[in-house]
């Protein structure tokens, strides 16, 4: 009744065997009596099988047929999100286009949606979500923002006026390798999935890999750490792709990078306690943005510079973008404050996206009214 998964080959070679419950004790006794050492690889095979079956049934959902029937109130797979993007472009070819800005470590395409009413190289707003893969409410909010822009671009005065003069770039899944890993292997994965020589540990923190105070205090040089900055700045293709895009575009005026959780709106710097020259203006914008956000559901946000509001962090995205001259550089930490943390219930996706959108509009409108 023993089911060999790795068949006997001869002395010195290990054997893997699935043991039915009634045979467990007799087999253990037999092995021990004969001095054969063993270890348990899987305690309950049935549990794994059951789990896999539920996962696969869930995965067999139909891919969405239109962005109007897409379920915004649930978490989606990478394939579903990439399909959504293509649908959005197909349904709105005059407003939305998809750009591939690079490839991830595992060779997945990095896509950015461009929302534009025309012109050439207009001043632009950049929004990214999902740079840390376990922060699932951010990718889900990114999907919602994309649809929101399409829905509102004519009838919402604020958004219409923004798009009259500016383009919006939205990267929904900024770290697709990490995202897939959170769905298949480890829901709490944060980093990229790159391997760098000299370590068994995988991944670099993409929010410590930018060329701003790179390698300084506020990041780790240990490849096994969640805040590992990587071997050098822009070592991660996911980061390099954005750096190249921003430099080539040359006309980005506002840059917003979205994370969760903690309910914070942050501006630079993280790597140093020296205040940015535009500190007062950024602080004022933050205050207005947070007021707008809270007005919807009463969600409380704190705001301030990264280093004074959370902790010192070096090599961060918006420190780099600010130093590139993108004055309106902000980071959000979305819901919640720890009750569910990364595992935010899906029913909070839409309310989170809705309130965050109000704050984003404040930032975009300010940029529009203060183009530089």
């Amino acid at each position: 009744q023993l089911d060999f998964w790795l068949a006997p080959r001869g002395p010195g070679h290990p054997v893997d065997v699935r043991v039915p419950f009634p045979s467990l004790q007799p087999l253990k006794a037999h092995l021990e009596a004969n001095g054969v050492s063993y270890s348990i690889m899987i305690e309950d095979v049935q549990a794994l099988v059951d789990h896999e079956r539920t996962e696969m049934l869930r995965g067999r959902r139909q891919l969405p047929l239109s962005t109007n029937t897409f379920d915004y109130a649930t978490y989606h797979s990478l394939d579903e999100i990439y399909t959504f993007m293509d649908l959005l472009v197909a349904e709105n070819p005059n407003l939305v286009s998809k750009i591939e800005i690079g490839r991830s470590t595992e060779n997945r395409p990095l896509y950015v949606l461009k929302f534009s009413k025309g012109g050439t190289n207009r001043p632009a707003v950049w929004i990214d979500t999902g740079i840390h893969s376990r922060e699932w409410v951010t990718q889900a909010s990114g999907v919602w923002f994309a649809k929101k822009i399409v829905l509102d671009h004519k009838n919402d005065q604020g958004l219409a006026s923004i798009l009259d003069k500016m383009d919006i770039f939205l990267e929904i899944v900024t770290n697709p390798d990490g995202f897939v890993f959170t769905q298949t292997q480890n829901r709490m994965w944060r980093k990229t999935r790159s391997r760098h020589s000299g370590s068994a540990c995988i991944g670099v923190d993409p929010n410590r890999n930018w060329d701003a105070g790179f390698g300084g205090p506020g990041a780790s040089s240990n490849p096994c750490s969640e805040t590992y900055h990587g071997p050098y700045a822009n070592s991660e293709p996911e980061v390099k792709a954005i750096v190249d895009f921003v430099k080539n575009h040359g006309n980005i005026k506002a840059f917003v990078s979205i994370h969760s959780y903690s309910q914070l709106l942050l501006y630079p710097y993280g790597y140093t306690s020296t205040p940015v020259p535009d500190q007062q203006e950024l602080h004022q914008i933050s205050k207005e943005a947070v007021t707008a956000l809270s007005s919807l559901y009463g969600t409380n946000y704190k705001y301030g510079s990264i280093i004074t509001t959370i902790y010192q962090a070096s090599g961060g995205t918006i420190d780099w973008t600010y130093n590139q001259g993108i004055k309106y550089s902000f980071t959000f930490e979305l819901r919640d404050t720890g009750r569910y943390g990364f595992l935010l219930p899906a029913k909070q996706i839409v309310p989170t996206a809705q309130e965050t959108w109000l704050a984003l509009k404040v930032i975009m409108l300010h940029a529009l009214d203060h183009l530089y």
Binding site: T74, Y75, W136, T182, Q183, Q185, N186, R187, M188, W189, R190, A200, D205, S220, S225, E226, T227, S262, I310, Y311, G338, R339, Y340, G341, F342, L343, L344, P345, A346, Q348
Partner: protein, 181 residues
């Protein structure tokens, strides 16, 4: 909040806070507390003194319901991934989650410094341990999220509970991370 530096001892914080019942946001109670973080070389958990002004809500009915339900289970309760990846918690598991939250508060307290900020991220596994006495016992494997390092730290804790005797963590230990993580 006030901070006081005490030579050779550590940093003492004076706090005024409002406690909010997570099950009833309108139910609040004022609290004052003193937290003393010892010098790092002492390796001691912070000392906490507190005063609550007023009374916490009575939870006898909910406590009895949960207690009787678990006591009357034929097979020991076993569950995994609470919440699941999508943030779902089965209604009957909600008290199990709340119990873990309270118990993890003790573990967090015992392992906190001025440079840590812990949250309970998930219950990976919970198993009830049947007892012959009146207490309920649960063996939890939880994940703690530490904000500053951003690490996810597996932790095991053995939790005792009885409606009249409160929560006790009788044993807890930090667990090694798996190779695939």
């Amino acid at each position: 909040m006030d901070k006081e530096d005490i030579d050779d001892v550590g940093h003492k914080y004076h706090l005024e806070l409002v406690l909010e019942d997570i099950l009833d946001k309108d139910s609040t109670v004022n609290c004052t507390a003193e937290v003393l973080y010892h010098l790092p070389n002492k390796n001691l958990p912070p000392d906490v003194q507190f005063t609550i002004e007023g009374e916490l809500k009575n939870t006898d009915e909910a406590d009895s319901m949960f207690y009787n339900r678990i006591k009357s289970l034929e097979k020991e309760l076993v569950a995994e991934d609470i919440p699941d990846s999508h943030g779902n918690v089965a209604p009957e598991m909600e008290p199990v989650r709340l119990l873990a939250w309270v118990a993890s508060g003790y573990v967090i307290w015992q392992n906190s410094t001025e440079n840590t900020k812990f949250q309970l991220a998930q219950i990976k596994h919970v198993k009830q341990v049947k007892r012959s006495d009146e207490y309920l016992e649960f063996d939890y494997r939880i994940l703690l999220h530490e904000m500053v390092s951003q690490e996810i730290i597996p932790w095991q804790m053995t939790v005792l509970w009885h409606p009249h005797h409160g929560v006790q963590v009788t044993q807890d230990s930090r667990q090694p991370k798996h190779a695939s993580e």
